[in-house]
Symmetry: C2
């Protein structure tokens, strides 16, 4: 019992950190009356967004809750509820802190760069720690209840199904936050620019544009709430899938059972708890050095968190697994030591570091890729876009190779369970990584507020410096999010095959009848496996295409709304009338929710429809093989689609910044105009379609797991 309590204590530390830090941030000076007014409008818009978004999620959630309760029982439905509510709470609090920290960052930046960095980063850290802490607490506490309170065996199907449903609850929030949020933020951005800059001839961040506030809200929607929900989901889903693997590998006649089973099921949770502590320690290491390097300050924190995590995980191995030399054997006959598992965890941390470095190379202004796009801008819009697409395609290579090397190394050390532990360790740092991402919109907003409130130019210079770093950290965390989602999905796939084997092996006339006589051929020479791989591969493409079109339509809706406000209230342009920011936000939220219906059904329905279609054509066994292959297919193209979109988009964005810094003629030059085109193209790439591929991958996988559970009940 003690390890589980310590784990819960770790989760509570994150919550405590959140409370302390929120109090700290809120105590800061919120600036002048005008600044507070603008920040108030952003906060009001964020409320409008959250209200409508959560109302819709509530309706969908209740329906799903009832469906799950009917098909899989109340414990499963409650698991789903816990996942959804906790992810929602993390995003809700994070957003609310973020839209209050923005103005305080602007104010602090008017005194010193370091002050601005501190407020912005702390506010991001609140979201980050809440994500990691609440995800961990949700899984740990529900596991505690199920195994102690309800007295179920740790490896029983009821426990596994309930935990998988918890992951599914997180998925619900994730798809709304990522896809709906992505359409919202880029609809506001693109639409606001079209009607403001192009039609009305007013600058960006002009308070007369009714879409300006929606744009600022959108920054938080995408990189605070969106990233929080995405990583909450990956975190929950990976920890749960690792526990499922532990349950399957360490129980049953050939498994070790008992204490080993319990220790292995707690091991991923313990890694999570240990790394929450180290992540918190890392946040205190974020301090601007004498060289005034913001990125350097953030890296100091990340490196501190990473190095301490290695030590912390070693302690976990010693306390929970009885030292490095303990040897374990799985029910499938694989054998490895505690040191091997520790090695896997360290590899997970190394993968994180490498992906961060690679993404910075592809999206940072100091390196070849971004410079090549800036160079290509000199010869026009077309060549800018061609080079940007070339970089976006190329940027997938190194992350893919790192992931492949990670798979090979961890598999050699500890088999499939080793891969799962590596991903767990990778995600254990999610608290700190989300902090890096959620820092971005706060600084972005701070710059906007400084602009709108007419603060002196050197404040804007400080916020611009923070914002530029924010662009890189946003890209870097997106690389991490997709990398971990891809690896996490591999673990989910392993859970699918292990689950399937379990049901087939234990099928009889009294239980798991559906699986009786099923023989699944997952071999590549089975054409149904090829069919599954191809159809799975299609999902990210179709999903991405629909998402990109959706942004265009949402932007069109913004244009209509802004035109309507300008027409009905001519005083807005004269500055005598206040635009109705809330209406623009609400209209856009509705548009985003409407636009996300079709694409979000794609990953939800695909595995289910495919299963029943193939079952009708070729029987049950082939249907299971096809769906399994689909799960891998969606990872394979999904990884490339998502990495290319997020890295390419980041590179386009920073190529524009690079030119604005005075290269190739600077702001207003022809090269700059071409770079603006590239940035516009990159926007829905990096903030809508690319990131939304993550939940699409995970949802396809988790729906397949739930499908197995439902079929097992039938």
């Amino acid at each position: 019992m003690t390890p589980l309590l310590l784990i819960i204590l770790g989760g509570l530390c994150a919550v405590a950190y959140g409370i302390v830090t929120i109090t700290d941030v809120m105590k800061r000076d919120p600036g002048t009356q005008r600044m507070q007014e603008i920040a108030g409008a952003i906060a009001e818009g964020a409320q409008a967004y959250l209200r409508r978004q959560y109302a819709t999620i509530g309706v969908v959630g209740i329906v799903l809750f009832v469906v799950l309760a009917v098909f899989l029982g109340i414990k499963v439905a409650v698991g789903f509820l816990i996942g959804a509510v906790l992810s929602g709470v993390a995003g809700f609090i994070g957003m609310n802190v973020s839209v209050r920290a923005n103005v305080r960052t602007a104010q602090a930046a008017s005194t010193s760069l370091g002050g601005g960095l501190e407020v912005a980063f702390k506010s991001g850290a609140v979201t980050g720690m809440l994500v990691a802490g609440l995800a961990l607490l949700g899984v740990a506490l529900y596991y505690l209840y199920l195994t102690r309170g309800a007295g179920l065996a740790p490896s029983s199907r009821e426990v596994i199904d309930a935990l998988v449903a918890l992951g599914f609850g997180a998925s619900l929030i994730s798809i709304f936050a990522r896809l709906g949020g992505g359409i919202f933020t880029k609809g506001a951005d693109v639409g606001g620019d079209l009607v403001g800059k192009v039609e009305a001839g007013i600058p960006e961040d002009d308070p007369r544009n009714p879409a300006t506030i929606a744009d600022n809200v959108g920054d938080n929607v995408g990189d605070c709430a969106g990233m929080a929900a995405d990583l909450f989901e990956t975190y929950a889903v990976t920890v749960v899938a690792t526990m499922v693997l532990a349950a399957i590998f360490f129980s049953g006649p050939t498994g070790s059972g008992g204490a080993v089973l319990e220790a292995m099921m707690l091991y991923p949770l313990a890694i999570g708890a240990a790394c929450i502590i180290t992540s918190i320690a890392g946040t205190y290491a974020v301090r601007l050095g004498s060289n005034q390097s913001i990125m350097g300050a953030l890296y100091k924190g990340l490196i501190t968190a990473g190095v301490l995590s290695v030590a912390a995980i070693a302690i976990v191995n010693f306390t929970l697994l009885g030292g490095f030399s303990t040897r374990f054997t799985t029910s499938t006959g694989q054998s490895f030591t505690s040191a091997g598992l520790f090695g896997c965890a360290v590899i997970g941390l190394v993968i994180t570091a490498l992906i961060v470095v690679i993404t910075e190379y592809y999206t940072g202004t100091n390196f070849r890729p971004v410079k090549s796009i800036a160079d290509a801008s000199v010869t026009g819009h077309g060549t800018n876009v061609i080079q940007g697409l070339a970089i976006s395609l190329e940027s997938t290579a190194l992350p893919a190779i790192v992931i492949v090397a990670g798979i090979i190394a961890t598999y050699a050390l500890a088999g499939l369970f080793g891969i799962a532990i590596a991903v767990t360790a990778m995600l254990a740092l999610a608290g700190f990584i989300v902090a890096l991402d959620a820092f971005g919109p706060v600084t972005d907003n701070a710059g906007g507020i400084a602009e709108m409130a007419g603060l002196p130019p050197d404040v804007r210079k400080s916020t611009d410096a923070l914002d530029a770093v924010g662009n890189t950290t946003k890209a870097v965390t997106k690389g991490y999010a997709i990398g971990s989602a891809g690896l996490g999905a591999l673990v989910l796939f392993a859970a699918y095959t292990s689950d399937l084997n379990y049901f087939i092996a234990n099928a009889s006339d009294t239980q798991y009848r559906f699986f009786k006589g099923v023989v699944v051929d997952f071999s590549l020479s089975n054409p149904y496996v090829v069919v599954g791989l191809l159809l799975g591969g299609l999902i990210p493409y179709l999903f991405g295409g629909i998402a990109m079109t959706a942004v265009g339509r949402a932007a069109g809706a913004v244009v209509e709304e802004v035109r309507r406000q300008f027409r009905e209230k001519p005083g807005i342009m004269q500055g005598t009338d206040r635009p109705d920011y809330g209406r623009a936000v609400d209209m856009l939220t509705r548009a985003a929710i409407r636009e996300m219906i079709v694409p979000s059904l794609l990953p939800v329905l695909s595995p289910v429809v495919l299963f029943f279609v193939i079952q009708a054509i070729a029987g049950r066994s082939q249907a299971f093989a096809t769906v399994g292959a689909m799960l891998l297919g969606v990872i394979i193209t999904g990884l490339y689609v998502a990495v290319s979109m997020t890295s390419g988009g980041g590179a386009w964005d920073n190529a524009k910044k690079y030119i604005e810094d005075g290269h190739h003629g600077g702001k207003g030059s022809d090269a700059h105009k071409a770079a603006v085109t590239g940035d516009t193209v990159g926007d829905p790439y990096k903030d809508t379609a690319g990131p939304a591929v993550n939940p699409a991958i995970k949802i396809t996988n988790i729906i397949a797991l739930l499908l197995l559970a439902v079929l097992a009940h039938s």
Copy 2:
């Protein structure tokens, strides 16, 4: 012996058609002195391109010939030589006809639209029939020699290896023609536009621009020589792989052996021969109706060829396979009837028809996708590109579903061999399909010549109408090329696994020693399979990225060269001095060859390097599994990358045409400028990176087959 002679006769019909038609085309009026001058310059440029390209291929080819002779024997090396030489001959003659038919088309179009169509289409048909005829003859005659002349058993390894090498010879030409040619054509196009339109302010197709001739040569390089080599390769490789499958399925202890084996190995060749005759018949059905619909005329020919092919294949089944009810059983225990195989062939033809229709929908000016891009152009460059990317992603869905449905249906009818027969039937129409594609550059050139020679505007109107249809047929045939390449590669993959199983089953101390004790786990739950899938999936991405960058660099080289000529010969701009077109062509050819080195090594080296790396890490068995999975991985992402690029590029191109037809403000409007940007982006997408993915997919697969052969010899 009789069937084989009939098959050879079929191939000879294609050659005879070529000779007759060339004579016919060359007899046409080549127009005025000025027109002949311009056409002469294009022909001269084409010669310069072919000379240097073939010189380089010659050197690489000799090296490969020696390597193959040393490692695999002289019969294999000769097979390679036959494939390379015949593919080269088809491309060489096709290009030479094409650059002579262009001026005759322009002249014929000055009398009637129908006349222009006739000359252009006939010239394309020469290339098409030579591709199908020479590919068929190469395989059939070498097979005749090997089995009759050299007296080898039809299913012996020597015959199989020699035929696979023939496919590899075709691959060598294909990668040069597709990748090198793609870089050439778009380097000329983009570079010529940059330096001509942007810098010097002279219109497109202006004879003062030294890159103009290179641009016109490039059209032929891409869509005549490139497509010819691509489909020659797919044709040869698919027919050979189907024969390999037949050899494995219908020999050995449980196979039927003898007459059945021979019939099954000849069946794909017979389908090819039969469809050459129907394709020739189809060319005579291409006639402009009273409605003056060019596309309608071409469709009449395609439908005629398709419908006749169904009848012709039925005749093949009756004569070669002894009627529809004959039943066959493979050595792997699958059983199917001749009618089942006929069904598979018909499905292959249906897939062709569906892919043509779908691609026309996504790239034709009458439908939603192109119109949506044109609409998005109104709001600027960025929105044009966003919508184009959205369409390019979306356009992959229906072709993928058609292919998947084809796999399921043909597998149900006749197992793996059924899939192979469907692809064979699909490719049997290659003669007619290449004709549709090679028709494009002729009309494109004709328009350029009409422009440069100052022909009356209504001639230009006729050539423009032909050119617009050419844009669609080019896109349509690209869809067909990638669809067939993808399915063909699946057959290659099946050949890989079957080959591997054969070697493993027959491994002993005296033969195939390398395969002793090898147990390959192709299951998706083997992490090395995931590794292979991921790394295979990377190839098209990295390859595409490098190819896009290469176009940018080649275009830069063109800019330098043109600037140099303008500087050194100031008379060019005054029209008193003639630009050195040949130098521009030669310089660009060199640049294209230089730029293609790295990307072309990617598919060649990847399977080999991967094999030895994994062998060192995890042993032989896992190395075979990883390489096998890589072959599928490259198909899965390759299909999506190539379809999205070729369809998206075609849609961008026609969105520009749609606006030029007078929509959204027409030529010169802001929407038009945005559409030009989209078209520029689409150029390397649809003419370089996208089509070059086809040979990349096939080469990866064929190299793996050769690797097996080499290891079997070791």
